[in-house]
Amino acid sequence: MVTESPDITSYDTELLDQAEALRADAGLMEEYARRLRATAATLGGCPTAPEWSGPTLERQAAACDTAAEQLRTAAETLLAHAGARD
């Protein structure tokens, strides 16, 4: 019978936790993107809002989306790594 050493098991558990955290963070980043777009929309209705605010917030929201996607990808690769055999 083959048994894994306790170290390896704990490492893998930690990797799984980190993958889960990355997924959660990806969700958060999507939420941030939504909030930035909502702010941009609010400012869009305000005539004294600086013109730059809309495009800037939109660009930063898009960056949040990209970051969310990349974090999700990182979570997947981390899961794959945790599940891989030596």
Binding site: D7, I8, S10, Y11, D12, E14, L15, Q18, A21, L22, D25, L28, M29, Y32, R35, L36, T39, T42, L43, C46, P47, T48, A49, P50, E51, W52, S53, P55, T56, L57, Q60, A62, A63, C64, T66, A67, Q70, L71, T73, A74, E76, T77, L78, A80, H81, A82, A84, R85, D86
Partner: protein
């Protein structure tokens, strides 16, 4: 787009609504920024986790892919950004720092900057004048336009310009925001925490400009604090307010200036109760000084630390003044004084001892503080163009109000230029003309203190208690000796003197002829010659008053058992064990008290003359019209030599008086080449005849000993049975 960043052609908004909306949006955006920052930190932690590193070594193919994916998420310019990697040390720290240095800002920082820019836009609603100033316009355009790097470049140029005070004062309402942007976007990762604190409204712990820790800077502010009751001058007493009032207290503070004094007053209120008012001025301009707690470093420490020499000194003054426990106390301060009194108010022990009813800070950065007693009424009055109140990081554009219950007036005064707009005089003027309603409101709150002033006492505050003058050399037990000029404390102490001793070799027989007519006093021999010394002194501060002294003396042997080479051997002995000394042939002094002391205590043949001496430089000069003597010398650098203590001999009746002279200073030995002595008198007395007989009027001194500044003390003369 207009210079203030708003679009043309839209209907004019209601200023207050627009401002509030912009601030609310700024708050939302900075929340997002903080969230993104936290995500970046967690992702960095995952990338550099030991678990991933260990498992990647065992399974390199999948491990490398996982690490690559994480690195990509952290560094992608379209994602979390260039310097999103955050790690306290190691490779992660290097990568994060490198990203920042290369100018690749993290998404979190850029979003935080967006929030700050929204705050600036809110300020611009109230300050359209910024648009008119060309330099300011360029800067605000850069900051508010969609060019992060241009904004940073403009700010860097501004902060590099030391003379940009006007620009800085104009920016005061935006200072906190601009400092935060600069901290977040510049290449220096050390001040990032400061930038985040400013952007998110957290309490600052570091200099906004450079991110220097307040604790480190406060280390310069040394001392346990000290307070000494001092008298006001007659002129100052006339300015002191006789009736308690807000403006009156401020005028008192203005009168105190920034010379390290505070004022304590008792005021009898309308209800007949005596209450106490502490009035504290601001910081003294200039470099850090360790004699007064009111300097810039003190202000800085006050700003970030609850305890400082200023607050400690005030506590000592309050203790000395004798305020009863539980008494009502109002604290009023300007600039650093406002921070110091707020520090006191936030001390629980202090608030248990006294009932701090009011704290009023004018032109002070006190937003990061909070009084310990919730009943304390707090007022903060600031000019929006004054930079100093912005030092705590809360400018006009702040989206945070940490003290909704304070009475805060942040007004736009007519004076924009710093430091003028920070002067208390300006604040007083503005309270009369620009914001009279604020003055009335504060006076209303101070109603229990609006009554006659019944006692006033000023205190001089110091970083540390000073040791006695001349400590430890001149800290001596003294005894009082009666003289015809009144009692004199001996040893006589000289706190600040200069001296030059012109040392001549003279004929031994001639010298012997000038000594008292006794067989046992003989001149010390240097070969076949004797040594005469013409001593010139400039005593600037002594216990018998300032005076100039000219003394002619001859080196003499042991009075009982003269031996050859006594003088040379004695130089190796402690002064109190020496047997040789200098017998004073003639002494001329410029004060009556010095003459009496020399004559009656030291037994020296003293006379009072007029004389002037300048012995502090390399060119020395002494002139005495009464003696017909002029000495000029141009001395070289000379060489250091050990401090020379002396024994002086005088005569009183049939006795010899032995006086111990101890000196402390840097003595230098020079050749006598540059010395020129002139005698412009034909008279023999009092000094000229002796100088001529010794041949000093035509000779050059063998050497000269000088000491441009030293201390000395002369003991009471011991009477010898000789």
């Amino acid at each position: 787009m207009r210079a203030d960043g708003t679009a043309p052609g839209r209907p004019a908004p209601d200023g207050q609504d627009a401002r509030e909306l912009l601030r609310r949006c700024a708050r939302d955006v900075v929340d997002v920024a903080e969230g993104i920052r936290a995500v970046s930190e967690r992702t960095s932690t995952a990338l550099f986790a030991p678990a991933l590193a260990a498992s990647a070594r065992r399974r390199p193919r999948t491990g490398l892919a996982a690490r690559w994916a994480l690195l990509r998420a952290l560094t992608n310019k379209q994602g979390l950004g260039g310097s999103a990697i955050t790690a306290p040390k190691g490779v992660g720290h290097v990568l994060g720092t490198a990203g920042e240095v290369l100018g690749r800002e993290s998404l979190a920082a850029l979003v935080a900057v967006t929030s700050l820019r929204l705050r600036i836009a809110a300020v611009l609603v109230d300050h359209p004048e910024f648009v008119r100033d060309p330099g300011m316009r360029r800067l605000t355009e850069a900051v508010t336009a969609d060019k992060d790097l241009a904004a940073v470049r403009s700010l860097r140029a501004l902060f590099r310009d030391q003379g940009a005070q006007r620009a800085l004062s104009g920016l005061a309402p935006l200072m906190a925001e601009l400092l935060a942007i600069r901290a977040l976007l510049d290449e220096d990762p050390k001040n990032d925490e400061t930038g985040w604190a400013l952007a998110t409204g957290r309490e600052l712990s570091a200099d906004p400009l450079h991110g220097i820790s307040a604790a480190r800077l406060a280390g310069l502010d040394k001392g346990e604090g000290a307070a000494e009751a001092v008298e006001l001058t007659d002129q100052e007493r006339q300015v002191i307010t006789p009736e308690g009032s807000f403006l009156g207290f401020l005028r008192n503070i203005e009168m105190l200036s920034t010379d390290g004094r505070i004022l304590l007053q008792n005021v009898r209120g309308p209800d007949g109760v005596v209450r106490y008012v502490l009035q504290a001025p601001g910081m003294a301009p200039g470099r850090p000084r360790n004699d007064s707690p009111q300097d810039f470093v003190g202000a800085w420490r006050n700003l970030f630390m609850p305890d400082s020499p200023y607050t400690r000194s005030i506590l000592l003054a309050l203790k000395d003044y004798g305020i009863p426990r539980g008494a009502d106390l109002a604290l009023i301060g300007h600039s650093e004084g406002g921070i110091a009194v707020m520090n006191l108010a936030q001390d629980e022990e202090f608030c248990r001892t006294y009932r701090v009813t009011h704290v009023i800070a004018v032109g002070s950065p006190v937003d990061s503080k909070k009084p310990a007693d919730p009943r304390t009424w707090v007022a903060s009055i600031t000019n929006q163009h004054d930079i100093v109140p912005v030092l705590d990081g809360r400018g006009a554009g702040t989206a945070f109000d940490p003290h909704p219950h304070w009475y805060e007036v942040d007004y736009t005064g007519p004076t924009h230029e710093f430091p003028l707009c920070h002067m208390l005089h300006e604040y007083i003027e503005h309270l009369k003309t620009v914001i009279p309603e604020a003055r009335e409101r504060v006076d209303e709150a101070l109603a229990p203190y609006l009554g006659p002033v019944v006692r006033t006492q000023a205190y001089q505050l110091k970083d540390r208690a000073n040791p006695p003058e001349g400590y430890p050399f001149l800290t001596l037990p003294t005894t009082s000796v009666p003289t015809t000029a009144g009692p004199i404390d001996v040893p006589v102490r000289y706190y600040d003197s200069s001296a030059a001793h012109l040392c001549y070799t003279v004929g031994a027989d001639t010298a012997r002829g000038l000594l008292p007519d006794v067989t046992w006093m003989t001149p010390s021999r240097l070969g076949r010659r004797a040594m005469a010394v013409l001593s010139l002194y400039e005593h600037r501060c002594t216990t018998i008053g300032p005076y100039t002294e000219i003394a002619l003396s001859v080196l003499v042997d042991d009075l009982w058992r003269p031996r050859p080479h006594d003088a040379a051997v004695d130089l190796l002995r402690r002064v109190d064990l020496r047997r040789t000394g200098r017998h004073v042939l003639c002494l001329a002094v410029t004060s009556e008290e010095a003459r009496v002391v020399a004559q009656e205590i030291w037994g020296q043949p003293a006379r009072r003359v007029t004389a002037e001496a300048d012995l502090t430089g390399r060119r020395i000069g002494v002139r005495s019209p009464d003696l017909g003597l002029a000495v000029d010398a141009r001395l070289g650098r000379g060489v250091r030599c050990p401090e020379a203590d002396w024994i002086l001999y005088g005569r009183r009746g049939e006795s010899t008086i032995r006086t111990l002279v101890r000196a402390h200073g840097r003595l230098r030995l020079h050749t006598g080449g540059g010395v020129r002595l002139r005698l412009d008198t034909a008279a023999a007395e009092p000094l000229a005849g002796q100088l001529r007989r010794l041949g000093i009027d035509t000779a050059r001194p063998r050497f000269v000993l000088t000491c441009p500044q030293f201390m000395l003390h002369r003991s009471a003369g011991a009477v010898l049975p000789r």
